[in-house]
Symmetry: C2
Subunit: 202 residues, 2 copies
């Protein structure tokens, strides 16, 4: 691209470093910012820098947090005997948005993937096992993604927890609510049949 | 969305103020920034703030610029007797990218649109007319978008320039290079036939 301004070129370059944003979008965003009141750009810039510099992770569940212990772990309304194991922060948000879960979380920070050089030691597995051995935990729910790596991670943690008096479950897989049978892939449909549940009149 | 962190929530809110970026994308970008080295976020923030605060517009053509007179206007290799009138900075870039134009530009900053409250006085039309009256300009090329507002703006400027010894032209409209006839809309195809040009063996 042919920029007539070095400042514009820099701004576009920096914006286009973000994932999924190409040069054209970056240019559009930069020119948009130019039309905004001065304060707004500084507000954006400040909130990004503060976010990057001041954010911490909960010492207990490794969720993103502003404080040492996150809101969820610190809440008296949550059941500390149930822990849902997820890959990352977005999964916590997704489950929180359902409003169906009242236990705590444990954010692994990824899944075991030897190809990407991620072994069990790169993830927060040890602290989960330690927590499980302390005795308050009654159930651990695996909510990792349904891939080879997710399954490997589940299995690895399962092995580490062997011998402990803890129920280990995994979230149900099946046809999405509202989906039609004929368009569902056969693996999912197969699982739905295999893991059928008692019919309830609602 | 259910954020466990106020800092994250702020960052996501600020990012999602950008056009075309929703909450989900904003969250993805924020979490991406979190994984980047600290310096990179500050670099992004700085370049945005500097861009917003330090950028100026060329006094001559109103193009975006780091200096009082932009590179194009200041260049000795450009022909100051031809001026291409465009709506905004992106149009300058688009034409510069073709490498086919050697004259100067005049950025109007929009087009006349009474519905949006944009009249001739909101645009850089007076300075264009003043420039035209100074005598160096031999040709003015309209390169506004082909809409009602674009046509109105063209006509308004045309009227202002009446009586001056200046060739006024407009960029050619027609079928895109590589496009097929049968898929072209009839207005464009009609114009292509009306404004046919002498055949040249290349």
């Amino acid at each position: 691209m042919n920029f007539s301004s070095k400042l514009l070129e820099n701004a576009v370059y920096e914006i286009s470093q973000l994932p999924g944003i190409g040069k054209r979008t970056a240019l559009r965003l930069a020119l948009h910012l130019l039309k905004q009141p001065n304060g707004q750009v500084e507000q954006l810039a400040n909130s990004l820098v503060r976010f990057r510099n001041e954010i911490t992770y909960c010492k207990n569940c490794h969720n993103i947090s502003d404080t040492e212990i996150c809101e969820i772990c610190a809440s008296f309304n949550r059941d500390p005997s149930v822990i849902c194991v997820v890959e990352d922060v977005r999964d916590v948000m997704a489950i929180e948005n359902t409003g169906q879960y009242n236990g705590l979380y444990h954010v692994l920070g990824g899944r075991i993937s030897p190809i990407d050089g991620i072994g069990p030691n790169e993830l927060h597995i040890a602290s989960l096992v330690k927590k499980a051995k302390e005795g308050t935990v009654k159930e651990i729910i695996f909510a990792l993604s349904n891939t080879m790596e997710g399954d490997t991670t589940n299995f690895y943690i399962f092995k580490q927890l062997e011998g402990l008096d803890i129920t280990i479950s995994t979230i149900a897989r099946g046809i999405s609510v509202g989906d039609e049978l004929e368009y569902t892939d056969e693996v999912t449909l197969g699982r739905s049949i295999l893991h059928r549940i008692p019919f309830e009149v609602q």
